[in-house]
């Protein structure tokens, strides 16, 4: 029962079959038991979590509950959380306690959710495996020798292992969707600007997008209802009328709930480089969608092959500037000894940042340098517009674009650590969504022969969250991939 979905737990809480305190305490015990094997959680604070649960119970008792009141949640450690250690997976912020909360953290608290802890991640969200954390790699609950994906790997692993029904993540090049795919959960990257970035420790400002990870599309919709909204503190936050992202999910299903929906299948997403088992699982999912009434058609995204190189110019460029504030002057790590100011900067940043972060800062500094700016940064910006144009053209013919989330299932820890380019190619199908700003969701659609999850990505046009959530929801009503659970690590512990 405590491993239920957000919808199931919400119903149980509101009918008073279980209290939030009981639920939270049970999940905290479960986290304590399982986390040593997964390293999915960083900071936890039992007393605080139970106090929040008690407050939620009061609201539930007073009949003032939202659909999320009393439900445990976890936040990716990239999100500033007042009074909580917020490390971004980095030695640079090892002992940093956030003095304020991110917008999405505030919104989720305001909806009554109970924070159970902060989740581990690739350092400064730079990675696709959650191995670059200063606090050690996160492990997949499906196979603890494998990665959970990244950078929101702690959140994905926590949801997959049923440690929390939902968690937040952030997606800069696929960091919600790819770990969701590799961990067998749902992960939604909303349209850029729908969720405020205020309090999200910036990696690449024009790409960073907060979003939810949960077990079902419906749960993601409920979380997004809480997380979305205009925030004047973020100038890129959009001031749009508020929207109920669950509104399409409730309507009568019928045999062909997706009748009339045109699903575009980009030929570029089904070619070489995609693992055969992933391809098969995605094709099977497409057949399922067709059975539900959708009409498939081939589309083409001729410039999408440039998405990864474009991304690996723009994201490091912004990161090199965003991470300049970690200089040892005002907060965070500072080298113990140094000769002068420059020495202090050099030692502090050499000690505080890991190898992947340094690599991206160097790349970003290079592409912005005098004499290289036009050839790299400016060119990448032009290509970014071309890629967006590809999608605009494709959406003339189709409503959503479907394909694999990642080219393969989870890989072994360490397998790609020495090959950054192989690691970067994990994002080959996800980065375009960040470059265009459009929303996309990853949902489970099968397993490979090793029993590792495979993810299906459904992309849509800007502000089409409700549409892609509905496609995912109808698929989940007809299939049970999202209900498959890894062997219970808590049971193994007690056995």
């Amino acid at each position: 029962m405590i491993t239920g979905s957000v919808v199931e737990l919400g119903a149980a809480l509101r009918s008073r079959r279980v209290s939030s305190v009981e639920l939270t305490a049970a999940l905290l015990d479960r986290i304590d038991a399982v986390n040593p094997k997964l390293n999915a959680f960083l900071a936890r604070d039992r007393e605080r979590s139970l106090a929040e649960a008690k407050a939620a119970d009061a609201l539930l008792g007073a009949g003032r509950a939202t659909p999320l009141t009393g439900i445990p949640v976890a936040h990716k450690d990239v999100l500033m959380t007042a009074g909580w250690a917020t490390t971004c997976g980095s030695r640079m912020l090892e002992n940093f306690v956030a003095p304020y909360s991110a917008f999405v953290v505030e919104r989720i608290a305001a909806a009554g959710m109970v924070l159970t802890g902060k989740t581990n991640m690739d350092e400064f969200a730079m990675g696709s495996s959650s191995e670059t954390s200063y606090f050690g790699p996160v492990r997949s609950p499906w196979n603890v020798d494998c990665v959970p994906g990244g950078s929101s790997g702690g959140s994905a692993a926590a949801v997959a292992a049923r440690l929390v029904p939902a968690a937040t993540g952030t997606d800069t090049g696929g960091s919600i969707r790819q770990p969701a795919a590799l961990s067998g959960v749902c992960g939604l990257k909303p349209t850029y600007g729908v969720c405020s970035r205020y309090g999200l420790i910036a990696f690449a400002s024009s790409l960073d997008t907060p979003g939810p990870l949960a077990r079902t599309a419906e749960d993601c919709a409920l979380l997004l209802n809480a997380m979305a909204g205009h925030d004047p503190r973020d100038s890129t936050s959009l001031d749009r009328p508020s929207e109920d992202y669950t509104r399409l999910l409730a309507s009568g299903a019928g045999a062909k709930p997706l009748a009339g929906l045109r699903i575009g299948l980009p030929k570029e997403y089904f070619g070489a480089g995609v693992d055969a088992e992933v391809g098969e699982a995605v094709h099977a999912a497409v057949r399922e969608l067709v059975a539900l009434g959708a009409k498939p058609l081939e589309v083409t995204l001729p410039d999408v092959e440039l998405a990864v190189p474009v991304y690996y110019v723009l994201a490091p460029a912004e990161a090199s500037s965003n991470l300049a504030r970690f200089d040892g002057v005002r907060y965070g790590h500072r080298a113990a000894e140094y000769d002068d100011l420059n020495d202090m900067y050099e030692k502090t940043r050499a000690e505080g940042f890991g190898a992947e972060v340094k690599r991206r800062i160097l790349v970003g500094t290079y592409v912005l340098s005098h004499g290289y700016y036009d050839a790299y940064y400016l060119k990448a910006q032009q290509l970014r517009r071309l890629i967006a144009e590809d999608f605009r053209r494709a959406y003339r013919d189709c409503d959503v674009i479907v394909g694999p989330t990642a080219p393969s299932a989870a890989f072994k820890i360490g397998a790609k650590s020495d090959d950054p380019v192989a690691m970067y190619l994990n994002d080959i199908f996800t980065v375009a969504g960040n470059l265009t700003g459009a929303p996309a969701i990853s949902i489970p659609c099968g397993f490979d022969r090793n029993g590792l999850p495979i993810g299906l990505q459904i992309q849509g046009e800007a502000f089409s969250e409700s549409v892609i959530l509905n496609v995912a929801h109808r698929y989940q009503q007809a299939t049970d991939w999202h209900r498959r659970e890894p062997a219970d690590l808590a049971m193994e512990t007690s056995a």
Binding site: M80, Y198, A202, P232, T236, S321, R330
Partner: protein, 476 residues
């Protein structure tokens, strides 16, 4: 061989918004260190800038006042460099597309008369904090109160040819930004700071020489000295067979010299790129129209009017428009029916002296323009002499009442009664035979001595013109 100096100025005017350009923290000066530093100013992880519309509005006001182009779309860019008082590791500024482009400011050059100094651009940016190198025993303190203060950087074309012109430009600009209410102009507090780009070339040459940028000049006097020094230094260098190296130089007021700070070789690569946290700044016609409607009459328009309608000299017109409050006093004085020249002389003379002595703004003076007008009306109608008026002005300044009341109370009314004056003149003539003889022998000056005697006898109240006439009549 004669030389010509070529000078351009970059001016940082602190905009008079109550809160910072990208945060809600106060811009107040002199608070305890770091008490006006919000999470955004400290650059905590995760914080984002949100633009203060008031700063944009002031930039628009400036652009309109100098006749520049207000860009309908301008872009904020990050200027990246590491320094402890730069919390984000970058300064948000505008690079390729500034908010204002072009425009001009008309100055009065001692050598060339009225000169139009063209402006290259004016862009919005944030100030850095302050590093405090004293008081921390070998360590450096950081005060971020100033970090994020809105600045308008105003860049001129190299249109000035002497230190005097540079100072005239700086003063005119200083007057303008206060006039339109976008900057308090307080130079001690750093609200108005100038950097000067100086180069020299042989007279008649068309190409520019290599320039040096002089930083850290915080008064008009220092600006003048620093530029004069730099011009001399460059000329001597070239005449001695050397070459000017492109440098940033610091002015040392104590030694009155400029010193090299860094050369072009160690110039930093700031890696400018558009700030992804801030969408391009869009300014629509309606906004510009609103700001235009609120603009006061500009100093240049007033100057032109004062010269053409009031027949004042350009120099007087320039002085009267140094401050809008001073121009207000002048205009109120004229409204009382006072001749422009008389009004200008008094506003720039007695009135300005008193205001400067009291260190107050003209608007706060105990004698208003209307009061001054009432006083000068009595000079014009012959009730009192100009000399007596100065005493009355002093009495007005110390709060003794209206000019008429003071004249009445002190019995200062001018003696214009012909009979009375004739009598006094006769008395003076009776006791000054020597002066009379001198005058009659052709020494015109002797008449002045006699007039002086009559004035003394009447304690200055005699109508000098009338006394003059009576004396001349009696002595022929």
């Amino acid at each position: 061989m004669s030389w010509e100096a070529v000078i351009g100025l970059e001016t940082h005017a602190q905009l008079s918004t109550r809160s910072k350009i990208f945060s809600g923290a106060s811009t107040g000066f002199g608070a305890a260190p770091n008490s006006h530093a919000s999470p955004v100013d400290i650059a905590l992880p995760g914080v984002l800038p949100s633009l203060n519309k008031g700063a944009v509005e002031r930039a628009i006001r400036f652009g309109l006042a100098v006749g520049g182009t207000i860009n309908r779309r301008s872009v904020f860019a990050r200027k990246n460099y590491f320094y402890p008082d730069l919390p984000k590791g970058y300064q948000i500024s505008q690079y390729e597309i500034p908010v204002v482009q072009g425009g001009a400011i008309s100055i009065l050059s001692p050598a060339r008369g009225e000169v139009s100094v063209r402006l290259t651009r004016a862009h919005l940016e944030e100030d850095a904090g302050k590093s405090l190198h004293e008081d921390f025993r070998g360590k450096t303190g950081i005060d971020l109160n100033r970090a994020g203060t809105p600045l308008l950087e105003i860049v001129s074309e190299p249109d000035m040819r002497s230190a005097e012109e540079a100072v005239a430009y700086a003063k005119t600009l200083h007057g303008l930004v206060r006039w339109i209410g976008i900057c308090d102009g307080n130079m001690q507090e750093g609200s108005f700071r100038c950097d000067a780009n100086v180069s020299v070339r042989r007279s008649g040459e068309a190409t520019l020489g290599t320039r040096c940028e002089i930083k850290n000049v915080n008064s008009f006097r220092f600006l003048q000295h620093a530029i004069e020094f730099e011009i001399r230094r460059q000329i001597e260098l070239i005449e001695d067979g050397g070459r000017v190296e492109q440098q940033t130089r610091l002015y040392d007021a104590e030694r009155n010299e400029t010193r090299a700070m860094r050369t072009k070789e160690d110039a930093q690569d700031y890696r400018y790129f558009p700030d992804p946290d801030l969408p391009p700044l869009a300014i629509d016609e309606a906004w510009i129209a609103r700001v235009r409607a609120q603009l006061p009459e500009l100093p240049q328009a007033k100057r032109d009017r004062y010269v053409s309608e009031c027949t004042l000299t350009p120099a007087d017109a320039m002085s009267l428009t140094a401050l809008s409050s001073l121009a207000d006093v002048f205009e109120a004085t004229m409204r009382a029916g006072v001749e422009p020249k008389l009004a200008a002389n008094w506003v720039l003379g007695e009135f300005s002296a008193a205001v400067n002595k009291a260190e107050i703004d003209p608007a706060a003076a105990p004698v208003s323009g209307a009061d001054l007008g009432a006083l000068l009306a009595r000079v014009q109608d012959g009730t009192i002499s100009g000399k007596i008026a100065k005493d009355v002005f002093e009495a007005m300044w110390s709060g003794e009442g209206s000019p008429d009341a003071i004249v009445e109370k002190r019995g200062l009314k001018q003696i214009s009664d012909a009979g009375a004056l004739e009598k006094i003149v006769a008395e003076v003539l009776a006791t000054n035979a020597a002066a009379i003889a001198e005058y009659k022998s052709g020494k015109e000056k002797a008449l002045n001595a006699l007039v002086g005697k009559v004035m003394a006898a009447t304690k200055g109240k005699a109508n000098p013109a009338q006394v003059n006439a009576i004396l001349r009549r009696k002595l022929t």
